[in-house]
């Protein structure tokens, strides 16, 4: 194995930082989903175990095989989608939808049609749906400002300072400061946090039309446009010419297995990928794959002690998780809103998609993300041909 010669401390550090960031920010969104589903801590532990193991196995395998720093993670916009669907959706239905989504992504991967499908989706509509899903999290920061002003203001100031001073570590530092503030101001107690091994729990999948339309299809869409697309772009801008085919295929195969334990779709990372693919991981691009492997190994550790992570999050107030999740998503919300606002050719259809998705309105049992895409696609076809820009241009 080449890996004994190629390993380096910066690469391993990069892998570690990437995992730490995922657990600090995006995991907070997953916790909000778990809270809205009103599940037990044991079940939540199983979910965290499943997403961590999925990311670990696929990341280690792909990085070693392709000799490219492939950082995988769980679909962050997918977890945001979950928050709007629970508790109307049952766990069994959710798992069924995860399996359907994994199948669809697998077919897209194995047939090599990823690039073609990405081109078919109007870019504004995809970003608008994503922005609509994430919108509630952004607003959540300021809603918490009314109920727990001191904690929220402290966290916002900490976020702004850290983001300005050390953008890379800002989420990790925010987590630390946030926990300290929650203990000091809100009287949270970490007594219940102890080292414990995770026990995965099997969930019997149940397939329904409802879950397919409200969860599986939007999940595929946000995973493709929100994770695979930016993730592949990050790899390419770092100079790796890897094709999307093996990555999409392996990630979806992994998702298929972790789904049974509550793990949402495994995808290529977007938020943390750049840490492992950049020069800071290693001077030599051919040796950065070690960072991808290290990232996977730290996910294995995280998955094994998932119970401890769950205990940490559940002992903190709900508003803390809401503010943390919202701040972690600020960048994503900004880039998605900017992306659809800049897409002048079908702006009206995008705004309709955004409003319908952000409204959180569900009817006929289907979630707002689904209706957002339907409304957007309809408006795109009805309006975009006669679209005239608003007078000021």
């Amino acid at each position: 194995m080449r890996i004994h010669k190629d390993w380096s401390i910066p690469a391993i550090t990069a892998g570690f930082v990437a995992v730490l960031i995922s657990y600090s920010g995006p995991l907070a969104i997953f916790f909000q989903a778990a809270q809205s589903a009103e599940i037990s801590s044991a079940m939540m532990t199983s979910w965290v175990w499943a997403i961590s193991i999925g990311a670990a196995v696929s990341g280690i395998f792909l990085s070693l095989w392709l000799k490219v720093p492939v950082v995988t993670a769980w679909s962050a916009p997918g977890t945001a989608l979950l928050v709007t669907l629970f508790p109307g959706l049952s766990l069994n239905e959710a798992v069924g939808a995860y399996l359907t989504a994994a199948m669809i992504i697998f077919v897209i991967g194995i047939t090599g049609s990823f690039d073609r499908i990405i081109q078919m989706i109007p870019p504004g509509i995809a970003s608008a749906m994503m922005a609509g899903i994430l919108f509630q999290f952004g607003v959540g920061i300021f809603i918490s400002l009314e109920s727990v002003p001191a904690l929220a203001i402290g966290m916002i100031i900490a976020y702004l300072l850290f983001k300005r001073l050390t953008p890379r570590y800002s989420l990790v530092l925010l987590l630390v400061v946030g926990i300290a503030l929650a203990i000091l101001l809100e009287g949270a107690s970490l007594d219940g946090v102890a080292i414990q091994l995770a026990e995965p729990q099997f969930i019997r999948p149940e397939w329904t039309w409802n879950a397919t339309l409200s969860l599986a299809i939007p999940l595929v869409l946000v995973s493709l446009t929100g994770q695979f697309l930016p993730g592949m772009a990050i790899l390419r801008t770092s100079g790796y010419t890897t094709s999307a085919k093996p990555i999409v295929t392996v990630a979806s195969l992994t998702s298929f297995f972790t789904a049974f334990f509550g793990g949402i779709t495994t995808v290529i990372a977007a938020i943390t990928a750049a840490i492992c693919t950049s020069k800071e991981a290693h001077e030599d691009p051919d040796k950065r794959y070690v960072a991808g492997v290290a990232n996977g190994v730290f996910y294995l550790v995280g998955g094994t002690f998932a119970g401890t992570i769950v205990a940490l999050f559940t002992s903190l107030p709900g508003e803390f998780v809401a503010v943390l999740a919202g701040l972690a998503l600020i960048g994503a919300i900004t880039s998605n809103i900017s992306a659809f606002a800049a897409e002048k050719s079908h702006l009206e259809a995008s705004v309709i998609t955004f409003i319908a998705t952000a409204s959180g309105v569900s009817f006929l049992g289907l979630g707002s993300a689904f209706w957002g895409v339907i409304a957007g696609a309809l408006a795109y076809n009805v309006l975009h041909r006669r679209f005239r820009p608003t007078p000021q241009g």
Partner: protein
């Protein structure tokens, strides 16, 4: 007075009104007027919640329509811009809440001082400078966030009243594609009314009453000024005026009389305080409707604001009647019409805020805060949206602020 922008003139206003009147601005003016009338329901619920006498609440709403409506006739006619006037909603909520604590006369005295502060902000030209210094993307982020709730409220009835809601929304979009002559808003309204008639709306509870505003002498106390007057002044100068001015700029009006709007709002607030009313200022959501592309060409949109003002003045004495009419129409009706009227304003404010790649994070904070609708220290979200948006942008996007320096240099060299 040198900072107050000059308008066109009032002399030819009636003649020009008839010349510029068309079906686009008439229909948007009607929608803006109805939206403004429906706001009276906020006063009623806030007043009732604060335990105020129902007879006083009625006088309060009637003054709101009558006084704000008169100023709303004057402003658009003088400036030939869509400048509808109304009162401050956060101000109304505060007013209702403080009356039981500090007394009506003292609250009105505090309003009078707040109006004087606002007038001074306009006369000295402070407002114009502030509006030039706040970057446009942040202002438009705030405007977009504030108006977004109208968009979301339009979608919400789809859950409970899917049939009429989808009829109205579809009528709007289909007619905007098929008929160029008839404004889609009118089609949507007619579709909604037809549906209501077909399903049988209950109009039996409607009763007519006639009342007029009543004169009252305000009183001055320091406590009232600190608890209510100062926040109200901040609301009027920092929140209501920037929202209205920003909207007009966003809709493509180059010369917006920021100082004039502020000064007249201040003067109007001072007048209001003698008639049981807490404020007069530019009405942002109504401005959005009157200044929207739905109101026809730019130079004729002022007519819409005049119509909205006229509806206020005419409806004021009969507000008891209006209330029972509003109660008879289902809630979704006004929500959908207002949402449709503001669709394109929301679209273009988001485009201005986020498509320029400048002040993006500041604009996002402004957008999210305004959309969250939070109130801190009794001051509404749009004020905090501007303040935090500018602070955040100054921290992260320092170089985007270069426009301030380049403008100063341009001014000196020019």
């Amino acid at each position: 007075m040198k900072h107050i922008e000059k308008g066109v003139s009032l002399k030819y206003a009636p003649r020009d009104f008839l010349r510029d009147l068309n079906v686009d601005n008439a229909s948007t003016g009607l929608v803006a007027g109805i939206l403004g009338l429906s706001v009276g329901v906020v006063h009623i619920s806030a007043g009732t919640a604060a335990g105020l006498d129902s007879s006083f609440i009625m006088i309060w709403v009637i003054s709101y329509l009558m006084i704000n409506g008169l100023f709303g006739l004057f402003m658009p006619a003088y400036y030939r811009l869509p400048l509808p006037m109304a009162n401050s909603i956060p101000g109304a909520l505060m007013f209702a809440a403080v009356i039981p604590v500090i007394g009506l006369e003292a609250a009105l005295g505090a309003s009078l001082i707040a109006g004087a502060i606002t007038l001074i902000a306009g006369l000295t030209g402070v407002m114009g400078i502030v509006m030039r210094l706040i970057p446009m993307p942040i202002v438009m982020g705030m405007v977009g966030g504030m108006l977004l709730s109208f968009g979301l409220n339009m979608v919400e009835p789809l859950e409970s009243a899917i049939v009429p809601a989808s009829i109205m929304i579809l009528a709007f979009f289909i007619s905007s594609r098929l008929f160029r002559k008839i404004p889609p808003l009118v089609v949507a309204m007619l579709a909604g009314i037809l549906y209501l008639i077909a399903t049988g709306v209950d109009l039996s509870g409607i009763a007519a009453t006639i009342r007029f505003p009543e004169f009252i002498v305000p009183e001055f106390t320091l406590g009232a000024f600190l608890t209510y007057g100062l926040p109200l002044a901040i609301i009027l100068v920092g929140m209501e005026t920037p929202a209205g001015v920003g909207l007009l700029k966003g809709m493509g009006y180059k010369e917006v009389p920021a100082n004039g709007i502020t000064a007249v709002g201040g003067l109007g607030t001072m007048v209001s305080s003698f008639f049981n009313l807490h404020s007069t200022c530019i009405a942002a959501p109504m401005t959005g409707i009157c200044a929207s592309p739905e109101a026809g060409t730019h130079d004729k949109r002022w007519v819409a604001a005049v119509i909205a003002g006229a509806i206020f003045v005419v409806a004021a004495p009969f507000y008891g009647y209006v209330v029972s009419l509003l109660e008879a129409t289902p809630r979704y009706f006004i929500a959908i019409i207002a949402g449709l009227a503001l669709m394109r304003v929301i679209t273009s404010s988001m485009a201005i805020a986020f498509a320029g790649k400048k002040h993006e994070i500041g604009a996002l904070f402004a957008f999210l805060i305004a959309a969250s609708g939070i109130q801190i220290l009794g001051i509404g979200a749009t004020f905090w949206a501007l303040v935090l948006g500018v602070v955040v942008s100054a921290i992260f996007e320092t170089k985007d602020f270069e426009f301030i320096f380049t403008r100063e240099i341009a001014k000196k060299s020019g």
